[in-house]
């Protein structure tokens, strides 16, 4: 009894002492902490409106509790499968095309021997990342425009008919993915290039002595060495499968092509904020967040099992 008391007292003193020793660091941390509570944790608490019928006059806590009825409304609505399908179509296409593109570009840049050429390619490839999404969306619309756009001018010159890209919905996923490749392939390659600089040059020297071709060096040295980076990036991408860049879609889409362009994020904005159905919108958004979290956790667990590489 006595020993128990004294250890408790001891640990308590230790606790206070350690906190006191860190008092200046705690003071520094205090402002970001308060910031996080206000702008991140209060909205998390506010997410309960997804289970209520939010009424601005009653406030969050006094609005009537309706359980999961908004979720049921969403799951049974005609839009549910369309939104899931569109969201997945765009992000899977991105995973399939844009994700490997960055890896391939990194391998190609890494293979250049002329440092000036290498530097020039990198400078050009990173450039579009810094252009705002509004300008990129404007650029896409201008490039694809019917009369004045370069694509249709080229088709015209070849004697082909004009295509109205922004009114036919089946083009939309490809437009999104090509835009993503144009804007972010270079940027995405940096992380792989960084991983490649850490590879021991002796490995390549030994391979050359053994008569390995460049292709064999890439396959047997470079790729295995950057595999952990690839896996981490892959987990993060899969974890975001249901996010897609809805802000860019919001800029690019129009009612004529909702059939293929409307995704969960844009739907939350339109129904929830524009349509003032706050509770319904919050429910759809919450569903999306939880889905993403589950995907991330699942894929992280799978990767940890099969490859020893995971986020945590």
């Amino acid at each position: 009894m006595k020993t128990k008391e004294s250890t408790a007292a001891h640990s308590k003193r230790g606790w206070k002492q350690r906190a006191y020793q860190s008092r200046y660091l705690l003071m520094m941390m205090f402002i970001p902490f308060v910031y996080l509570i206000i702008f991140h944790y209060i909205p998390m608490y506010g997410v309960q409106i997804a289970f209520r019928d939010y009424n601005p006059y009653l406030g969050i806590l006094k609005s009537p509790w309706v359980g999961i009825s908004h979720f049921i409304d969403f799951f049974t609505s005609t839009y549910f499968w369309r939104l899931i399908r569109n969201t997945l179509a765009i992000s899977l296409l991105q995973l399939l095309l844009a994700f490997p593109a960055a890896i391939i570009l990194a391998l190609m840049i890494n293979d250049l021997e002329n440092k000036y050429f290498q530097k020039a390619v990198q400078t050009i490839a990173y450039l579009p990342h810094f252009i705002s999404s509004v300008v990129v969306a404007g650029l896409v619309l201008s490039v694809l425009a019917t009369r004045t756009g370069i694509i249709n001018q080229a088709r015209h010159a070849l004697g082909l008919g004009e295509i109205s890209f922004m009114t036919k919905s089946s083009y939309f996923p490809f437009i999104m993915v090509l835009t993503e490749i144009w804007q972010n392939t270079g940027w995405g390659s940096i992380i792989y290039l960084a991983a490649m600089t850490a590879i021991d040059p002796a490995l390549y020297e030994a391979a050359i002595v053994d008569g390995a071709s460049r292709w064999q060096q890439i396959r047997n040295i470079t790729l295995p060495c950057i595999l952990p980076t690839i896996i981490i990036q892959f987990i993060l991408k899969v974890g975001g499968l249901f996010t897609v860049g809805y802000q860019k879609i919001l800029l690019l889409y129009n009612p004529q092509i909702y059939e293929n362009a409307d995704v969960i994020g844009t739907y939350v904005y339109r129904r929830g904020l524009m349509g003032l159905e706050y509770s319904f919108g919050a429910a759809v958004d919450l569903f999306n967040t939880v889905l993403n979290l589950l995907m991330l956790l699942t894929f992280n667990a799978i990767c940890r099992k099969v490859s020893d590489t995971s986020l945590w």
Binding site: S22, Y24, D111, L251, G281, A282
Partner: protein
């Protein structure tokens, strides 16, 4: 013999690699060049599809129209204010969190790290955040633009990793022996040693704020407080190119040119900074990719 054969294969590999990369660069640059050339061309040439690579009948006609537009100037000024204030707040918050989290002896390190990391994987979402901003009476003010997304978890981790790897414990110990406390040490020793990471952060947040449009789109309602990107959205996306003031019939004719010129005007500051951006952004990504 076999070595020679392999090197022939390697030569082919190298050549293909170079050609594909040049094509890739051309594909990236071509639309940009087209926009710039188009903005300096005669509007009529642009409308009839005569601009392919270089400006046709070079003229500043379109820029004269764009610069006459008051919305462009007002929103440009707004964006500068939002970017300066927003970047300052963001960098301060990030540094104040990153430094304590980088110290091994920091009491509550695990707790605060968890508080930070959770926000990366779970959030209240668009609507609860909107209601909060509304409740705080921040709608249609600068605070709605600069506060809700002020602190990026990723950037905080990058900065923390930098502090862990550049500020050794011995330096801290010797400063404490001289009677300094954590805040004095941070202010007098750590900050001067961290100019590179500060530059990275200023550029990360600054470019992000300059290019951002969505929070303004959600929260701002007065047109005279719109940032540049929202005015751009009106012009580029909604096709509201009738900015010559008096309206008139040649709007259709100059419409496309006005779009091109506004894209150029909005992107020029970023492009002027591009050499720094490239250097420091790359550095930031490199630090971020270290396991910290």
């Amino acid at each position: 013999m076999s070595i020679q054969k392999l090197s022939a294969g390697d030569k082919a590999f190298k050549a293909v690699n170079g050609v594909v990369l040049i094509l890739f660069c051309a594909l990236i640059l071509y639309p940009l060049l087209w926009i710039v050339s188009g903005s300096f061309s005669d509007p009529f040439a642009l409308m009839t599809g005569k601009v392919h690579l270089l400006p046709v009948d070079p003229t500043l006609k379109i820029y004269k129209i764009v610069f006459k537009h008051p919305d462009i100037w007002i929103s440009y000024r707004n964006t500068i204010v939002y970017t300066v204030v927003g970047t300052f707040i963001s960098v301060c918050l990030t540094a104040m969190a990153a430094y304590p989290l980088s110290r091994t002896e920091f009491f509550g390190k695990q707790f605060f790290t968890a508080v930070l990391m959770i926000t990366m994987f779970f959030s209240g979402g668009m609507i609860p955040t909107f209601l909060l901003v509304q409740k705080l009476k921040m709608l249609d003010t600068i605070w709605a633009i600069v506060l809700p997304g002020a602190m990026s978890v990723y950037n905080t981790i990058v900065m923390r990793t930098f502090f862990i790897s550049t500020i050794p414990k011995e330096l801290e110990d010797s400063a404490f022996l001289d009677g300094a406390n954590d805040i004095q040490f941070f202010w007098k020793i750590v900050l001067p040693l961290s100019k590179a990471i500060m530059a990275v952060m200023v550029l990360f947040y600054g470019v992000g704020q300059w290019n951002s449009w969505f929070s303004a789109f959600l929260y701002m309602s007065s047109r005279d407080r719109y940032p540049l990107q929202l005015i751009l959205r009106e012009i580029l996306i909604q096709g509201n190119t009738n900015i010559s003031g008096g309206g008139g019939g040649d709007n259709d004719l100059i419409g496309e040119g006005v779009k091109f010129a506004t894209m150029v005007v909005a992107t020029v500051p970023i492009m002027c900074l591009y050499p720094f951006l490239q250097k420091y952004f790359t550095k930031g990504v490199m630090i971020g990719s270290l396991k910290g």
